[in-house]
Every structure is written in C-alpha cells, then in structure tokens.
C-alpha cells in the first residue's frame, strides 16, 4: 500500500517564558525565565494510504505540534516529513487542497454567521460542483443531526454542535487525509457513533486516511488500525492495535466472580491485583501461570461462580505505556 505520510527524525523546539511567582503582582509579571521545550524529538514513522491512525500520548507529549507540522503551519528545526509527496512547510497551500483539519482547540467557522454559511464558503473555496455539494451536505447533515443546528449562528452553538459543524466543513471537499486533533470533544454519544460511521464510510468509499489524536479509549477501540504512541516528542510505540494489546505479550487478565466475600490479599500470590470488589477480582497474570495447579484449583473451586481470561484492557495498557522509554 502507498505510504501517504513519511516522517523521518523530525525535531521541533519552542522557546518561551515561565512567569516566576512573586509577592507583588506587578513584579510577578516582570519576573520571567526563558525556557526551551523540545516538542518533537527525532520522531519517525510512516502511514499508509487509507489507514485510520491513532496518535496517542499524554497532554504536552507533542501530538498537536506534530499535526501542525504535518499540515505545514509549523516549521521543524530538523528532520524530514512528506505528506502526499510534498514537504508540508514548503507546500502548505498546495497541500491544504488535499487535507481536512479539525481541531478541538480552534473554531474554524465564521463565528457570527450560521454554520451553513461556512459550508457554502467551503463549496466556493474548493470549487465543489453544486450538485455534488448538495449530495455531500445532505449526507453529513442527516448523519450528524445538523438540520436545525446548521441554520444557527455558530457563536450560539454548544461545543459538541460546533465540533460536528467543524467536521462537516473540513470534509465537504472529500480530502485525501483528515487530521483530527481531539475533534470529538463535547459531542454526544449518538453523534460520536455517527461520526465513526462517517469515518468508516469515507475510508471505504474514498480510501480516506484519518490521522486522529484522542484520549477517548472507546474511540481507539472502535477505529484504530494503526496506533502511534508518543511521549515527550518521541515515538514509543508504532504498530497495530492488536500488537499494542499483545505488547505486554505474556500478560493476561483474569477476572473472577466469587459466590462469597473475598480477601484480595489471599490472591496476590497468583498475580498482580488490578481491581478488586467484595466478590470480584481482576488479576494481571503471566500466561504460562494459567496452567499452574494453584490457579486451576482456584478456578475449579466451589467459591468461583464464573471467570474470564482476556487480553489486558486498553486503558490499562495505555496507562502502562505513557511515560515509558522507546520500545
């Protein structure tokens, strides 16, 4: 499959100032210390056309900086990047014809006008034929329940409604890549589900690539094919979602439901207690230990009503991943 994004040893630092605390308000505003933050640190990865990529990482790990660099707004200090065969910061305008961008942190609509005006503007800007525009608009407006919403002034919309409109305005021209930086922030559940449907439809029908940052684990579970985890500007994991879940490889999760109250201390010898309730226990356990006599005896005891062995939960995997060094 064709590689649509190639990033090689990309680095980017920001110079800024830290305000210093002072007793006097006036002096506090004058006292500040310069500092340099390394947002991207020799980052490298590749994305294939048509993939849904989830870029994960803690706050301040460099996700937004990476996306802004990939869309050509920011210039890196060193390294290379190619998006759809172009160097983003050298071909920003040419590239902008071919991608869509939605950011949870920025309003991209005309604030004082109804959202439908921004959609009309997008039609004119990208020269979308009227018939095609109407067809796409009907699809997205119906899917995201925007029939009434899009007639209202953007400034009067709720955050979730605004994000839905932002999404429509970013994809009406059917871009080859859609960058979504925490784009589902504030959306209600049914809209999130419908948005996922729209993403999968676009991927299926137009082979659209999605490059998504999110902290919502359900979204990762539902959509991720390719997962990239970054920490302090460095890629610490780059692979498929199942590879991520299997990363702790030999670890399994054993959930046990008991018919009586339990003392979790008694079970620590079998593995790490991840969660415990009055009659419930979740253990992280090495796969080979499942065959040990002690575990088999425990699972077959009369006190156990039910049990389940599974791959480690994604939330748990991610929480273990954040803050790790490159693997």
């Amino acid at each position: 499959m064709e590689e649509i994004i190639k990033v090689n040893k990309l680095s980017k630092s920001f110079k800024s100032y830290q305000s210093l605390q002072g007793k006097k308000i006036f002096l506090a505003s004058l006292r500040r210390r310069p500092y340099t933050k390394k947002a991207l640190n020799e980052m490298s990865f590749k994305v294939k056309k048509g993939e849904i990529v989830m870029l994960l990482g803690e706050n301040g790990s460099g996700k937004s900086t990476l996306i802004k660099t990939l869309v050509g707004i920011l210039h890196p200090d060193s390294g290379e990047a190619e998006v759809m065969g172009m160097t983003p910061w050298k071909n920003r305008i040419k590239l902008a014809w071919k991608y869509g961008m939605i950011s949870g942190a920025h309003n991209q609509m005309f604030w004082n006008l109804p959202a439908i005006d921004t959609f009309e503007y997008v039609k004119g800007l990208y020269e979308i034929p009227e018939k095609e525009y109407q067809k796409r608009l009907r699809y997205f407006v119906k899917l995201l329940n925007l029939e009434e919403v899009c007639k209202r002034q953007v400034r009067t919309l709720s955050l979730g409604e605004r994000m839905k409109c932002n999404f429509v305005s970013a994809v009406l021209h059917l871009p080859e890549i859609v960058f979504m930086d925490e784009a589902t922030i504030g959306m209600d559940l049914s809209s999130v589900i419908n948005l996922r449907k729209a993403l999968l439809d676009m991927q299926k029908n137009y082979n659209t690539t999605f490059f998504i940052t999110t902290h919502i684990v359900d979204e990762i579970k539902a959509l991720a094919e390719h997962v990239i985890i970054i920490d302090r500007g460095t890629v610490v994991f780059d692979g498929t979602k199942s590879a991520l879940q299997k990363f702790f490889g030999k670890k399994k999760q054993l959930e046990i439901h008991f018919g009586k109250k339990i003392d979790k201390e008694r079970y620590k010898k079998h593995g790490k207690v991840v969660e415990a309730g009055e009659n419930y226990l979740k253990l992280e356990i090495n796969a080979e230990r499942l065959k040990e006599r002690g575990i088999i005896t425990l699972l077959n005891s009369e006190d156990v009503l039910d049990y389940n062995v599974s791959e480690p939960d994604l939330v748990y995997v991610l929480s273990r991943f954040y803050g790790r060094k490159k693997v």
Binding site: L74, A96, W97, A105, W111, D117, T118, L125
Partner: protein, 268 residues
C-alpha cells in the same frame, strides 16, 4: 464571470467577511452616525475660529472648504480598513489556525479582509457622506478632478492597508498591540491632516509633514476634493504617493519574511 481561481478563493473569503459585517446592523448605523457627528463638531469649532479671527479665508481656505474637508476626512476614516486590529485578533484568539489550514495565504486573507470591510464601509458610510457633502455644499467638480479624487482614494487605501499591516505584524512579537495601534492612530490622524488641514499648519511643521507618507492617507483626497490642491499639484502628489507605496511594499515584504518565523511562538 470566469475569474482566476486564485482571486476567486479570496473573493469567497471577502464575501463571508461582508456577510459577517452586516450581522450587527446597529453597530454599522452607530458607526455611520459617528462619522457624521465628527465633522459636525469640527464645523462648530472652525466656525468659532473664523468668527473670532474675522477673516473669510485662512491660508486661502474658506469656512465652506473647511467643513467640506472634514466631511471628506470622515468618509476616508470610515473607508480605511482596521487591519492591524484584525491581525492582532487573529494571533490573540488563534483565528490564524482556521486560515492557515485552508488553501489561502495569510497575506491574501488580510487583503481580502480589508477589501470586504472597505466595501461595506464605503457603501454604508463613505459614499453616502461624499454624496451628502456634494449636494449640501453645492460641490461641482470636473470629471478630471473626480478621477484624481478616486485615484487619491485608491492610493489612500493601498497605503493604509500596508501601514496597518506593518503595525499588525508587531503582534507576532508583542501579541497585544492595543497601545501601539492607539498611538499609531493618533500620529496618523495628526500627520495626515485628520485634526487640522495640513495647509493650515505653520510652515516649519508642514515641511516635515509633507515629507512623510501620512498626508496621502487623509489630506490628499480631501484637498483634491476641496480644491486646496490644483490638478497639477494633485498629479505630483499622487506620483510621490506611488513612490511611497513601493517603499511600503518593500517594508511589508521584509516584515512578513521576518515575522513568518514567529508563527510558531504565537501559539497558532
């Protein structure tokens, strides 16, 4: 009309800004009222000055010419775009992100913004004031003078956009340029003849003022309209103004190349 696609996409942006400008109609009406009230205040001040001095003309400027002058100044003030504040807002409130993620150049979007606002302000305020003063003051200009007047307005707009762009770009360094913009407005109003017609300034000061580019931003069009500048003087003035436009173009280009590197640090 089959427009160049590059122009077309900026026209789309201008169209949206025109729509946006008409959303708050009361604000537009109040702006219109202010631009009419401002020369009326000047009318009272200058009537008092003429009555006290007991002369019919000061430096060959009659009271009727002074009144006409300030109405035209007011129309020019209304039409001149406030792009410095718009650039500052783009940086302060992160609006620049929405522009840079579309196939638009930032400089092009600033010009589109200025064009959109100029269109509305000229239609709603500027042109009605010019028509009003032409009718009320029984102004009768030759076609040639009208053409010189229109040329002076175009020059005024070009220079104003570029001057505002230079001030607005300071936002890349200081983020909030409210103080700088206020100071610039005051300096511009004084040196461009917004407060006193430049031909009424003492000789020494006027020599300095005529050496600066500000005169083209208010005085030149108003002086052509009132007859304070003859046709031949107007032509010379416009030629100097064009040279100043080229100087401003070089300054703006240099400034933009300088500030582009700062887009990162302003939190786009």
């Amino acid at each position: 009309m089959d427009l160049n696609p590059h122009v077309g996409r900026y026209l789309e942006y201008s169209k949206m800004l025109i729509k946006d400008r008409f959303v708050y109609k009361i604000n537009l009406l109040l702006m219109m009222a202010f631009q009419i009230m401002s020369p009326i205040v000047m009318l009272f001040v200058w009537t008092a000055i003429y009555l006290a001095s007991g002369v019919s003309a000061i430096n060959n400027f009659t009271l009727a010419q002074i009144i006409t002058y300030f109405f035209i100044v007011s129309a020019m003030n209304a039409i001149a775009p406030n792009t410095a504040q718009a650039i500052s807002d783009d940086i302060k409130y992160g609006n620049m992100f929405g522009i840079l993620t579309r196939p638009l150049s930032y400089v092009g979007s600033v010009i589109s913004y200025a064009a959109g606002h100029m269109f509305v302000d000229a239609t709603v305020v500027g042109i009605p004031i010019i028509i009003l003063v032409t009718v009320l003051m029984h102004i009768s200009l030759s076609l040639y003078t009208w053409m010189l007047f229109v040329a002076a307005i175009i020059l005024m707009l070009v220079l104003s956009i570029m001057a505002e762009f230079l001030i607005g770009c300071l936002s890349f360094f200081f983020i909030d340029i409210g103080g700088v913009a206020t100071m610039f407005t005051f300096i511009m109003q004084f040196f461009s003849g917004g407060l006193i017609p430049l031909n009424l300034l003492p000789h020494g000061i006027s020599q300095v003022v005529y050496a600066l580019p500000f005169q083209f931003m208010l005085y030149t069009p108003a002086a052509i309209f009132t007859g304070a500048l003859s046709s031949s003087q107007a032509i010379v003035s416009l030629e100097i103004g064009i040279v100043w436009s080229l100087v401003f173009l070089v300054l703006c280009t240099a400034m933009w190349h300088g500030v582009k590197r700062h887009i990162d640090s302003v939190g786009v």
